[in-house]
């Protein structure tokens, strides 16, 4: 078989710079062959080696009392007591989902699930964070339909409930949608498995689907901007097989009850290459791999293709010598392919054999340790100062407040996302205590009193206007959602979606956003235990807004101390925690009603935020509150309306003190660190005492009332709405914005 000559062009096509190539030569001490070049190319791609982000990521806080495993493994692990741990992670599948929305999103879910169960955990809950272009962009409806169906198609078949998420629309995503998938699993702390290939002589076992020519160069594709030529790369799209993955999940968990396994890792991007190198790298060992033994789906596959294929639903594991037959037996029981394909060696090299020939022979450690790190240039965007300008005084006052509220509730960014989450099985496994629709999902941990609350959040408009503050708010808001459900925020996974890092402005944004995330995580004591960076979210030079999505997980010691956002009982007191202001910069209101995206996002005081969470947690533990809902997109007006849309038909009668604020700003500014809560009259006193002790401003602003939505300001009527009609607008907003009236 003749292989391409190594030429400068070929090296460049593999995404390696001259400098990278010199480094490669120094490591190898000779010219690479074609297969080796391919291996270097994927290992040194942005996607695998984080060359642009590594330095910034180092600054994130990654340790804490509850952290059992920080970044570096397949997923991070936190201790939740009772001998159990939660393993979770979020990952992007943006480019593939834009090209083929159903399969792209489906395989994204498949990938994140494997990351979780490869560590021994049973996945118990998924979330997803989605960004699409304008609702009436010609491709949006198609993409929404495909992505949602794909996430459902994979997760539903796996029997893992998808319990929450977020969906936002903005023109900056017209050519680059974002699909970020989160999963969380539970494992006994004594049974956590790592991706390590130790023990010379131990067998290396391949399990799962056969290898085809799927996604070859997928890992490098994820690190390229889209262009017209991407059309030609289309056959790299992969088809997910959730059924096989379900068998893989059950077989792996069955295997992990035994003591046969030394280490295990899924084959994700750059399949065999990444998994062998990473597993050997962690153990300081080597691997000898015989490609002749690798199960194949197609004929005539070359070593290059076999090493780089991204066929889904495959895992690599190392077992103790002598146990391989028992391991294979378990997989065969589940009708799965399982083959010994190699051996752990002690020489620190990855040696790949094909038909008796050595087709690659590389030193494991230098390949990852000496991977290129780019010190990218950064530059503050020249036009930023301009767009940060906003003269609030000069902003024309909106006097039709009911009209404004109605438009906000109908906006697909705020409207109910039922159309999305009804396509996800959110109740399988029978643990979903708080269903989608409230601030955070709450999942019981069977066999304990505990529950976990989880949410994903990011406001990319804020990040675009001020990445430091935007980064802080992404963390604060996701933690606030968890706290509103009665959970103590524990730890974070992130998905950092940005444009082309070779552009100094993008790098400027990236580093500032990292600063914001780091500081917020530090103050709120929620370390980052894993995540993923997705650069090059650009089409024809047009980049997305910086979108550092945060997945937050919190713990409820007692599941029955959970809260949701819905008003419950006539006559309960409604309170506002936090202070109002006119911080309307970057808000949904400003964008929707004034067509402007400018100003500074609301400011955030992280210490204040932390006190707020502490208060919510205390109140939840004492069962003082009937509901809690944070104010976010659409401000106080929208938060009050949303709390009125529960199953109980309970609205509210509110009288706000303007404190001198203009009424439209009072109702719709997105001032941070505010929460709308309700409680019985009996609990009011006790709750106010807690609030005072916590130094959190709390004021009674009205009461819960059946079938009513009425807001006065300083005793004057401001909003007198028909609750049923408001609810209907909010219910129908999503489908009618995306699919037009009557359709779907």
């Amino acid at each position: 078989m003749s292989e391409p000559q190594i030429t400068p062009e070929l090296v460049r096509e593999h995404g390696l710079t001259e400098e990278d190539y010199q480094r490669l030569l120094a490591i190898l001490g000779r010219e690479p062959n074609y297969t080796e070049l391919g291996i270097f190319s994927v290992m040194w791609s942005e996607h695998c080696c984080y060359k642009s982000s590594k330095n910034s990521l180092k600054r994130l806080p990654t340790t804490g009392a509850c952290v059992l495993q920080g970044p570096g493994e397949n997923a991070g692990v936190v201790d939740i007591g009772d001998g159990l741990a939660a393993i979770f992670k979020m990952e992007s599948h943006n480019h593939p989902s834009y090209i083929e929305p159903y399969q792209g999103a489906a395989t994204g879910v498949g990938g994140i699930l494997r990351d979780i169960f490869t560590m021994g955990a049973r996945p118990i809950a998924s979330l997803n964070s989605l960004r699409f272009g304008e609702p009436d962009h010609p491709r949006t409806a198609y993409l929404v339909q495909g992505v949602v169906a794909g996430i459902g198609g994979y997760g539903n078949c796996m029997g893992v409930p998808t319990v929450g998420g977020e969906v936002q629309f903005h023109p900056c995503y017209n050519g680059n949608i974002l699909v970020n998938a989160f999963n969380l699993g539970i494992v006994k702390t004594s049974r956590i498995f790592l991706g390590t290939a130790s023990g010379e002589g131990n067998p290396v076992i391949y399990v799962g689907s056969r290898t085809g020519r799927d996604g070859i160069h997928g890992a490098t594709m994820a690190s390229d901007e889209f262009s017209e030529e991407t059309e030609d790369k289309r056959p790299t799209v992969q088809v997910g097989d959730p059924f096989t993955e379900k068998l893989l999940l059950e077989a792996c968990l069955e295997l992990m009850k035994t003591d046969y396994v030394v280490g295990i890792q899924d084959m994700g991007a750059a399949g065999l290459t990444c998994s062998t190198l990473e597993m050997a790298g962690r153990a300081g060992s080597g691997i000898e791999l015989n490609l002749d033994l690798v199960p194949r789906r197609e004929e005539g596959m070359t070593p290059y293709e076999l090493m780089l294929s991204e066929s889904q639903e495959r895992m690599l594991l190392v077992s103790h010598k002598g146990t391989e037959d028992k391991v294979l037996e378990i997989f065969h029981k589940w009708d799965l392919q399982a083959v010994v394909v190699g051996t752990v060696t002690g020489d620190g090299r990855l040696k790949v054999l094909d038909q008796g020939r050595v087709v690659a022979d590389l030193p494991v450690n230098p390949l990852s340790e000496e991977a290129p790190v780019c010190d990218r240039l950064e530059e503050r965007p020249a036009d930023l100062a301009g767009i940060q300008q906003l003269d609030i005084e000069a902003l024309p006052e909106v006097t039709d407040l009911e009209g404004a509220l109605t438009r906000l509730l109908a906006s697909p960014n705020i409207a109910e996302k039922r159309w999305v989450w009804e396509q996800y099985d959110h109740s399988v496994r029978g643990n979903t205590l708080v269903l989608p629709g409230s601030d955070a999902a709450v999942i019981r941990v069977k066999g304990t009193d505990k529950a976990l609350a989880m949410a994903v959040d990011c406001n990319s408009r804020y990040c675009h206007l001020d990445p430091v503050t935007g980064g802080k708010i992404a963390v604060a808001e996701s933690a606030r959602n968890v706290a509103c459900s009665g959970g103590r925020p524990l730890a974070v996974t992130d998905c950092l979606n940005f444009g082309n890092p070779e552009k100094p402005e993008v790098m400027w944004y990236f580093r500032r956003a990292m600063d914001g995330l780091s500081e917020a995580c530090r103050v709120l004591d929620t370390p980052v235990i894993g995540g993923n960076v997705s650069f090059y979210n650009e089409t024809q030079g047009q980049g997305i807004y910086p979108t550092p999505t945060i997945g937050m997980v919190g713990l409820l010691e007692h599941a029955d101390c959970r809260m949701d956002q819905w008003f419950k009982t006539e006559g309960d007191v409604v309170l506002l925690l936090g202070r109002n202001s006119d911080e309307v910069g970057g808000s949904e209101f400003l964008s929707l009603l004034h067509g402007r995206e400018c100003g500074l996002p609301p400011s955030i005081d992280l210490e204040q935020e932390k006190r707020l969470h502490g208060l919510l947690l205390e109140a939840a533990t004492a069962k003082l509150l009937a509901s809690a809902h944070d104010t976010s997109d659409g401000g106080l007006g929208v938060a009050l309306a949303e709390s009125s849309f529960g199953q109980h038909g309970m609205g509210c009668r509110i009288d706000l003190a303007s404190g001198g604020l203009r009424h439209d700003l009072l109702l719709f500014a997105e001032t941070q660190s505010r929460v709308v809560v309700s409680c019985t009259r009996e609990n009011l006193e006790a709750f106010l005492q807690l609030a005072t002790a916590a130094s959190v401003p709390a004021s009674a602003i009205g009461s819960v009332a059946h079938g009513v939505f009425s807001v006065q300001v300083d005793g004057e009527p401001a909003l007198e709405c028909d609750l049923d009609r408001l609810r209907q607008v909010w219910r129908e907003g999503f489908a009618s914005a995306v699919f037009g009236d009557g359709k779907n």
Binding site: I99, E100, Y102, Q103, S209, G212, R213, D214, R234, P235, V237, Q238, V239, D241, F243, T244, R297, E298, S311, Q312, D335
Partner: protein, 81 residues
């Protein structure tokens, strides 16, 4: 006019359904089955007076735009009275 459209996965694209059907046929004793690929079949009734050539163009457009996902699928169609 009747338009019959056959949509199949491109060669090389994984077909988990086809594989499951094959395994099941084997289990049922149909050992001679070597491969199964599952696709879609659509029967479409058309009215109107387009000519053969124009009709073909229109059918082709339907397939490309909607009926087949050309990223992973091929299509073929037949027109009949």
């Amino acid at each position: 006019m009747k338009l019959r459209v056959f949509v199949t996965l491109k060669p090389g694209v994984l077909d988990p359904q086809g594989r499951a059907v094959m395994n099941s046929l084997h289990a049922l004793g149909f050992g001679s089955v070597e491969q199964v690929r599952q696709g879609k079949y659509l029967e479409i009734d058309l009215e109107g007076a387009l000519s053969g050539e124009e009709l073909s163009l229109q059918a082709d457009e339907m397939c490309r735009k909607l009926l087949a996902n050309t990223v992973i699928e091929n299509y073929r169609f037949e027109l009949a009275e």
